[in-house]
């Protein structure tokens, strides 16, 4: 295994044997001797191969029952694989659930030490971290109360305060965002931000594509125990949405279009000389032309143009409904002028046609892309990601 790799999984299979009639008493075992016990094998993972590099923020997504939690438990060493190899370099702390081992009969304080020991802290280390944990959990006055007298929100806060102290080579999270309120979730996201900045190796199982696009540099889509897509988190999350759309389509005939390619929309990026172009410098003026030949214009309410960075960040988005006057649909084409006051990098457009606000009729998910490269330029008068419209004034 090369030393950049944190986890390497090769041809991993996992099957669960589910006896139709589970033998849990010895009598049944005797009675059933000779009878062939009907066992149903359930293949949860069918040959999964992938690698996670050190410093990766690796997302695992998939529908319910796709095997992602099983995979995570195998990575964490809770389940053993039926066949195949899992190699990892370094120690790993799994968060299949927050507050593992919490005992309701113990005080908050005792639970901190108990849970921390299970996360790999010695008593001395926990003692050092204890004040921090209490402060972060905002439960200073309740630490001597028994855990059973905590509200569920308090329990989650305490568990989370301990969890964020965990430092290990690899951290694994399973749907931690699913619990807790919005404030808790935003705290979680802050922590993820820190992990990302610190190049902490993280494996994250989630349903939330927003999180995947925002944090992950690599992602993997599992379906029926197989890898459907791996690599670019944007691609993975698109594929996942599509998978879900198909699922939803099966259930209810949806009138919005969910096929991969746009049916009517077309878009071009042009430079100031009206030539199609995909390479610009910061500050260049561009024109984006959007047309919808063949689409019944009476159905169309507005057009949206979004700029995404290749790494997934949504830079900006505009909707035509706020600026265009009556009659804009007649030519079946509109255009948008933009000053590209954004930093160097690779970008792409996401273009949507709306029937009414929030209802998409047609969309180009991976629209034309472009690069911004200002290396030959005279130097910018601003720094950061974007140049916002601004104005300086003196004290007078």
């Amino acid at each position: 295994m090369n030393d950049k790799v944190a986890i390497s999984v090769a041809d991993l299979h996992k099957e669960f044997i589910l006896p139709q009639h589970k033998i849990t008493t010895i009598k049944q075992a005797f009675v059933n001797i000779g009878k062939k016990n009907e066992k149903v094998k359930q293949n949860v993972l069918n040959g999964v191969d992938f690698q996670i590099n050190k410093g990766d923020f690796f997302g695992i997504v998939g529908k319910n029952g796709s095997g992602k939690s099983t995979l995570l438990k195998i990575l964490a060493g809770v389940y053993s694989p039926t066949s195949g190899q899992v190699e990892r370099s370094g120690e790993l702390t799994p968060f299949i659930e927050l507050g593992v081992g919490f005992n309701p009969e113990l005080s908050g304080r005792d639970n901190v030490f108990l849970n921390a020991s299970l996360l790999g802290f010695s008593r001395a280390e926990t003692t050092l971290l204890y004040d921090d944990i209490v402060e972060f959990s905002e439960l200073k006055d309740s630490m001597d109360k028994k855990l059973k007298n905590y509200s569920s929100g308090m329990q989650v806060r305490l568990a989370f305060a301990i969890a964020v102290k965990a430092r290990n080579d690899i951290l694994i999270f399973d749907e931690v965002l699913a619990v807790g309120d919005e404030a808790f979730q935003s705290k979680c996201l802050d922590i993820f931000e820190k992990y990302k900045a610190a190049k902490q190796t993280v494996v994250l199982v989630t349903h939330d594509m927003e999180t995947v696009r925002r944090f992950c540099n690599r992602a993997m889509l599992l379906d029926n125990g197989k890898i459907l897509e791996i690599g670019d988190p944007r691609k993975v999350s698109r594929k996942y949405s599509k998978l879900n759309d198909i699922e939803i389509d099966k259930m209810i005939k949806n009138d919005s279009d969910s096929s991969d390619k746009a049916r009517y929309l077309e878009a071009r990026i042009k430079d100031k000389n009206n030539n199609t172009c995909h390479r610009f410098s910061s500050g260049d003026k561009i024109k984006i032309e959007v047309s919808w030949k063949g689409l019944d214009s009476s159905q169309l309410e507005s057009v949206g143009v979004n700029i995404f960075k290749r790494t997934g960040e949504h830079i900006t988005g505009f909707n035509s409904r706020y600026s265009l006057k009556k009659g804009w649909k007649e030519k079946e084409e509109i255009s948008l002028d933009i000053n590209l006051n954004i930093t160097d990098g690779r970008y792409y457009l996401l273009i949507e046609a709306f029937r009414e606000p929030g209802k998409v009729i047609d969309a180009i998910y991976e629209g034309p892309d472009f690069d911004i490269d200002s290396s030959e330029d005279k130097g910018l008068k601003w720094s950061g990601l974007v140049d916002l419209p601004h104005k300086w004034s003196d004290a007078n």
């Binding site: 033998i23 008493t25 009598k27 809770v78 113990l106 020991s117 299970l118 008593r123």
Partner: protein, 288 residues
């Protein structure tokens, strides 16, 4: 030339680094297990005696009260004490050792299932949950033995060098109890009625083992069968070492090849328990 030295130095350093890394992970593993064990044992203690006024005293009182009852019944009703010097402490020591065996196996048996929540979510070594139960029992045994020693001294037994023999005897007891606990714990994951079977087995074992009665009441030709039971050998050895050298022990009444049987059983059970537990523990998370 310089390059060669540099190269050598680099290799040397990387080897050093690698070793350090190895060493430190190994250290962490044992340190971590120790701290988990410690927290589990202390949780056990805190939870077990919560809400009871006498708290920890109960783990001393329980065997003492059991002793009092049995003492009254068997001294005044059945008069089993005849011909046994120091019958009181003789009985008490037997009860204390038996209690340890019972506690370790009963707690150990359900430990894996009871801690299922943990086992399904974290990859701590599975044996830790069984060992943690046995350590609680071991601490109880320690306190109980102090009480027993006090009684022994009050009874007028002179301390002697043979007292030291209790150490290997206790080690044997601990190893055997833990091994049985491992087997039961792994078994219990698959078959829940082990609990009821073991309850009966413990009850039967209590009478099959010379705890209440002296071995002198057992006809000589049957003693060899009594001594197949490692607990009979252990308890008799303990009595021999702490109370009286008149206690009948396997070592001086049986031929060596018979006397060694209980020890071989202990070793065989231990080896089997480790292998069995190790094999089964891989699937605990999914079977619980």
């Amino acid at each position: 030339m310089n390059l060669k030295i540099l190269h050598l130095y680099c290799t040397f350093e990387s080897v050093l680094k690698y070793n350090k890394l190895q060493l430190s992970t190994m250290k962490i593993i044992t340190k971590q297990n120790k701290s988990i064990l410690r927290e589990m044992v202390s949780t056990d203690f805190k939870v077990r005696y919560q809400g009871s006024a006498l708290g920890y005293l109960w783990s001393l009182l329980r065997p003492l009260l059991l002793f009092a009852i049995l003492y009254v019944v068997f001294v005044y009703v059945f008069k089993l004490n005849k011909g046994v010097s120091h019958y009181g402490v003789y009985l008490l020591l037997g009860i204390v050792l038996w209690t340890f065996f019972m506690e370790t196996t009963v707690i150990g048996m359900s430990s894996v299932v009871n801690k299922g929540d943990l086992i399904r979510k974290i990859s701590i070594p599975r044996y830790l949950v069984v060992v943690s139960g046995s350590i609680s029992a071991l601490i109880n045994l320690g306190f109980n033995l102090i009480v027993v020693l006090l009684f022994i001294l009050i009874n007028g037994v002179e301390p002697s060098i043979t007292w030291l023999l209790i150490i290997p005897v206790l080690i044997e007891l601990y190893v055997f109890s833990l091994a049985v606990a491992f087997i039961l714990a792994a078994f219990y994951v698959k078959f829940r009625d082990v609990v009821f079977v073991w309850e009966v087995a413990i009850q039967a074992g209590f009478y099959a083992t010379p705890i209440l009665y002296s071995l002198s009441l057992v006809p000589e030709k049957f003693r060899v069968y009594v001594f197949i039971n490692p607990l009979a050998q252990i308890i008799q050895d303990a009595r021999y070492s702490l109370i009286t050298n008149k206690a009948i022990i396997s070592w001086n009444t049986l031929r060596f090849r018979y006397a060694i049987i209980p020890v071989i059983i202990v070793l065989a059970v231990s080896v089997f328990s480790l292998l069995y537990f190790k094999k089964q523990s891989k699937n605990f998370a999914e079977n619980i």
